[in-house]
């Protein structure tokens, strides 16, 4: 029980990670794949944020009366990773729009039928 409850943040991360990863692999719809990719990335954001937590620590803002702070570095790292994630999603969606214009569909198997490219 200790293993399950004591590490609940990791279980959340693993669940999200596998959900996202499975969606990317199993779905044929190009937009759904991107959604899967996003869930996959978000799970990593949560992993970083949750490992930065310090027990009984507050948000890392200097204020009198508070001695223990959470580690702010992973927060900053993840801010960068979120920006990267947004850029990736934007680029992927732009590609999907172009694919829709070129093929008239965003289903992997239909695109595959048209010219065996995916």
């Amino acid at each position: 029980m200790e293993v399950v409850l004591g590490h609940y943040n990791y279980w959340v991360v693993i669940f999200l990670m596998m959900t996202g990863f499975y969606t990317v692999i199993s779905r044929g719809n190009l937009v759904k794949k991107i959604i899967g990719l996003n869930i996959f990335q978000v799970s990593v954001f949560i992993l970083y944020i949750s490992i930065s937590t310090v027990e009984n620590g507050t948000t890392p803002i200097l204020k009198e009366g508070f001695e223990v702070y959470s580690n702010p570095l992973p927060h900053v790292l993840i801010l960068t990773a979120i920006v990267v994630g947004v850029a990736t999603t934007a680029l992927a969606l732009a590609l999907v729009v172009r694919i829709k214009e070129a093929y008239g569909t965003i289903e992997e198997d239909e695109i595959h039928q048209r010219d065996h490219s995916l």
Binding site: K33, P74, I99, S117, L118
Partner: protein, 494 residues
């Protein structure tokens, strides 16, 4: 160290980064090209100066914004990075003169400034990965180079370019995210992101499962970017449908930088032979052998020359993986040598094929019959590049295969020796197939009237083709640097 010299390492990354948005807003015409040419030439010179300075004065440590490492981001340049950075900047500088005509032909006019902007961002990302000494910074640059290369691949003329770019994006993002997970896990154990600092702190926690998991995530993530068999599925499509200039640049640099990153992770970030205690090297040998055999056979059956060369690239990456898999100083030297030599041969070959595409508009086997007689210079470059790919003595390809075989003999890995030789024979078959189509098949009527490609395409192609011969005969420079680099990586203690 003062003035410009002191900031050399940073300038290499910052110049292309700042130039990219400027190039994007330049008016149409040849101005964006000229600007990019200037930037790549400057970067190549700076990278040359950096290598010289590292070889003579030792490691350069640059503190970004004056924040001392490990708190601030550090750029740490030793013989390995300086060598790889010079390859990247040098190939970019040789590709650019070639790009003018090829890009005018293949990219719609209104997209040309944006094309060059993405090209510069890609260059910035690749140089950044080599320069930085901070592992999270590596992730950021990895994504800068990847995102811009997805955009570059999608600019290909056929609609398949879009789907290949999408496929590349999905696999590339999974790879980068795996890398990020791994970095997070080792950060949680050590509390540092500086590579030199990690190397000091990690040995204390080597038996933690978290560190092993982090290591596995990082290795798999980089292997995806490296297109290590069987994680190579994005590569053939991306190389086939991307614009020619992009294929030349990515084939000669992107996978090379990923290979450099892999060596860094295996030997520097996780020091004291950590990787020897894991099945990593065995997996490298297995995947290298599979890549050499399977991808070479695939290459033989391709009907499109670009695709044939793309599969050949997967096989060549297999040779490098095999070199790393031997886990010896000789093996790493061979991998680094092949990294450099393969950049030369694939650069020359893709350039020559690009010249054919420039004239014919396609590079399908049945469209290029008899072109060898019509385009003798282009054909000559294909022959030299092809011989180098096979590993004929006197070419650069021979040198790296020679060292690879020496590394295999050192460990009495007879199967690997046989595979390296078999891979060369398979290369004879697919190179022969290109030459047969180009020279021995009678030219179709449409091809009868074709002329040699313009000089602006032929000259860069021949610079690379001749350097294949030069580095095949004069090995002092390349072998010296590769051996030194292997030493710096700490691979000699294996």
């Amino acid at each position: 160290m003062s003035g410009l010299q002191g900031h050399l390492s940073l300038l290499l990354v910052v110049i292309p980064l700042i130039a990219a948005p400027i190039v994007a807003v330049l008016p149409r015409g040849r101005l964006p090209w000229a600007g990019t040419l200037l930037v790549t030439a400057v970067c190549a010179v700076l990278a040359g100066m950096q290598l010289w300075s590292v070889v003579h004065d030792g490691v350069i440590s640059y503190e970004l914004g004056g924040w001392a490492p490990p708190w601030g981001i550090e750029y740490r340049i030793d013989a390995v990075n300086a060598f790889v950075a010079l390859i990247v900047a040098g190939i970019a500088a040789i590709t650019l003169p070639y790009a003018l005509l090829s890009v005018e032909k293949e990219i719609p006019e209104e997209q040309v400034p944006l094309f060059y902007a993405s090209f510069l961002l890609c260059l910035c990302g690749l140089l950044g990965i080599t320069q930085t000494g901070d592992i999270f910074n590596v992730f950021v640059f990895l994504e800068i180079s990847s995102l811009s290369s997805y955009a570059l691949v999608s600019l290909g003329r056929k609609r398949q370019a879009l789907t290949s770019a999408y496929q590349y994006l999905v696999m590339g993002t999974i790879g980068a995210t795996f890398f990020l997970i791994g970095v997070g896990l080792i950060y949680s154990q050590t509390g540092t992101l500086n590579i030199a600092d990690l190397a000091e702190r990690l040995p204390a926690v080597f038996d933690h499962k978290t560190v092993h998991t982090g290591f596995a995530f990082i290795v798999v993530g980089v292997a995806l970017k490296l297109a290590l068999f069987p994680l190579h599925l994005w590569l053939p499509n991306a190389y086939t449908y991307a614009p020619t200039v992009v294929t030349i640049f990515l084939a000669a640099t992107a996978t090379k930088v990923a290979l450099y990153l892999m060596l860094r992770v295996l030997f520097t970030v996780f020091p004291n032979n950590f990787a020897l205690g894991t099945p990593t090297f065995d997996l490298f040998v297995i995947s290298g052998i599979a890549a050499i055999l399977i991808a070479s056979v695939y290459a033989i059956y391709q009907m499109d020359v670009k695709r044939l060369l793309a599969y050949s690239s997967v096989a060549q990456i297999g040779y490098m993986a095999l070199g790393i898999g031997f886990a010896s100083a000789m093996g790493v030297t061979a991998a680094l040598l092949h990294l450099f030599n393969h950049a030369l041969m694939k650069g020359a070959l893709f350039m020559a094929v690009g010249a054919i595409i420039y004239r014919v508009g396609s590079c399908r086997m049945d469209n290029i019959h008899g072109l060898g007689r019509r385009m003798p210079w282009t054909f000559g470059a294909i022959i030299i590049g092809g011989l180098s790919l096979v590993g004929v003595p006197g070419t650069a390809g021979f040198i790296s295969k020679w060292y690879l075989i020496l590394a295999a003999l050192e460990q009495q890995a007879w199967i690997s020796v046989a595979v390296i030789l078999a891979g060369s024979l398979l290369a004879v078959v697919y190179v022969g197939k290109m030459i047969e189509a180009l020279y021995f098949k009678p030219a179709s009527e449409a091809n009868q009237s074709l002329k040699e490609a313009p000089l602006l395409l032929v000259i860069p192609t021949w610079i690379l083709a001749l350097s294949n011969l030069y580095f095949g005969l004069n090995t002092e420079l390349t072998v010296g640097v590769a051996e030194r680099a292997a030493e710096v990586l700490g691979a000699t203690g294996l």
